[in-house]
């Protein structure tokens, strides 16, 4: 589904990603962990096509297409979803309207008929319940005045609406209390299928109690320096990153 080879990327001439090799197959859940500043969020941004970062080397293939040649919206329509670490507020644009356009674009890409107004409302209600998101928020402006927890739930709600092939969740757990964390993580698990995949970027093992990963990768200084199974996360929680970093050096 996703094949990243020797990916290098920099911002303002400073190299952040220094040769990432990474592969995701349908049905898999990957966790990417690593100390602050190791390039986790940059990796997510580069995948989605954020213009802030310049790809200087390497290739990314997504469902057989060259991802790096696609625009941000093309990547999204093709089923690449990013759960933002800091969801953006869009004053004056209602959630419902925003989602209506986004869903229509995704369906158009998939060659599906547009949804009727009633079908769309039904879908919205159904998917909002996945993350126990208050339906009233749909009439509010995107993320405006949402609490921290609501913003993160809203990311997963949007993921549920758009039904992506590959979801990259960038520190979706940060700033969440225990209940919200459980709701968000359970939501992600509910959306898991054989034909989609999830990449979870996180600092804490806690999230992985709910979203059980098939692989855990450690990113350090722009490279994946270690890959293991879910037990690696537990070990990192106990021992930190030093043992790996020392090995790597």
């Amino acid at each position: 589904m996703l094949r990243v080879k020797d990916l290098h990327a920099s911002v303002d001439g400073k190299e952040i990603l220094r040769g990432i090799d990474f592969e995701v197959k349908p049905g898999e859940v990957h966790a990417i962990m690593g100390p602050n500043g190791s390039g986790k969020s940059t990796f997510a941004s580069v995948l989605t096509g954020n213009a802030k970062y310049e790809v200087t080397q390497g290739s990314v293939e997504f469902d057989g297409r060259n991802l790096l040649e696609m625009s941000i919206e093309e990547r999204a329509r093709a089923g690449l979803f990013l759960g933002f670490q800091y969801p953006v507020e869009i004053p004056g644009v209602s959630m419902a309207n925003f989602m209506k356009i986004a869903v229509a674009e995704r369906r158009k890409y998939l060659g599906l008929e547009p949804l009727s107004a009633a079908e769309f409302l039904r879908l919205m209600r159904e998917r909002a319940s996945v993350v126990e998101l208050d339906g009233k928020l749909m009439n509010r402006a995107v993320n405006e005045g949402f609490s921290g927890g609501e913003k993160k739930k809203n990311e997963i709600f949007q993921m549920a609406m758009l039904d992506p092939r590959l979801a990259v969740l960038d520190e979706t757990d940060s700033g969440l209390d225990i209940d919200a964390l459980r709701i968000v993580a359970t939501g992600v698990t509910k959306l898991r299928r054989e034909d989609n995949a999830t990449v979870v970027i996180t600092h804490y093992q806690r999230l992985l109690d709910y979203i059980v990963p098939d692989f855990v990768h450690v990113l350090y200084k722009g490279r994946i320096i270690h890959t293991g199974d879910k037990s690696l996360a537990l070990k990192l929680e106990e021992q930190g990153y030093d043992w790996l970093i020392n090995d790597y050096r």
């Binding site: 919206e73 999204a76 953006v88 004056g92 644009v93 309207n97 356009i101 986004a102 674009e105 758009l162």
Partner: protein
Amino acid sequence: MDKQVEQQRLLEVYLSNIEMIGEGFSGAFNARRRECIEDFRLTGLPRRGDENYLYSQVRELFPEQAEFYFTPPVWLEETVAQSGSDERIVLCNGFSDGTLHRTPQGVVYGSLRAALNGGAQDGVGCYGSAADDKGCALAALNSAFMQDGAFVYVPRGVKAGRRIVIDCRFRTREQAQVCFGRCLVVAGEDAEADIVLEYRVGAGVTADCVVEYRAERGARIRSIQSDEVERGGALLSMNYISQCERSGVESVFADLGDGFSRVDFTTDLAGREAESRLWGLYLAGGDDHTDLNVRVNHAVPDCRSYELVKGVVSGEATGAFSGLVYVAPDAQRTEAMQQCRNLQLSDGARVYARPHLEIYADDVKCSHGATVGQLDGEQVYYMRQRGIGEQEARRLQMRGFVNDILAHCTCERTCDRLRELADEKIERL
């Protein structure tokens, strides 16, 4: 002197048509015209560099070849017949069909000419009280030349219920033309008036329009003004709002046209606990020109005023906002808030924002601010990441920006219409 040529011409036009202009009006009324033309002569058309007209050159809107007509245009009858719907006053180049209506509740609306000349008793006395003697040459010119217009009176305690639409259309065939539009809206004690004022100005027309709003004690006026000026047309719209004790006036203003528009809102808070709220919007692209001036006079204590103005300016267009909140020496416990926020979409676009406070009382809460920014790249990125195309994302963001203002339209139908117009305009930005 060459500099005065436009002004001289206007005076000549007035003098040589004085009989036709004043026909049917009382001697006292026509005497008042003469005072106004004298005011105009003394004040003169705003010159380049005039503090109140820094961004709008209005002299060139009165070219030498411009025509003046002192009788209703031939298309009036047909336009009135087509507009059909009730509680609508149609003004064609400033002229109505001369009728005055009276609802069972006592609301009077229709021709200002008819109202001033014996058709109405209550409310007409307010004519000129808010607009005259304000030192505005363009308003004085209007007072001298006006022959008709729209009149709305809501008597004491009456909630007008339905909105009254004042549909002001200006157009000319080929020749440049100067027209005058005049409206008087009076809400009696504890009355409520809902007004929708629609300006449509065609190419070649300079429309000099004055609207006076008078809110008596405890009255509420809600007004929505939309300006659609065609490219090559010009609207000079002066609104004078005078408010008594405990009255409230809410105005929504939207300039969605493609031409030249200079709009003034002057509010006098003359009675305690009066409240004024204004939401303004201008969208300017191409070589549009839009200039909004808002002045609020807090003359007495315990009044509140609030203004939020938003503008989107692109292409080579000019968008200007000047705001002044004046607080008189004993207007204690005044609360005033004034905000102007602009999006500048291109390097060629010019945005001028001048928020002013002039405070002579010491116990006040006043704030003001102005911003000029660009579209938020983060918002666009976020929307694109959800599959929304870049153009669409930018438009959505603009619509969102604009929505803040239009959301204050209390009339759903007007609101929908304005949204549609704004959407169309955004497509052109």
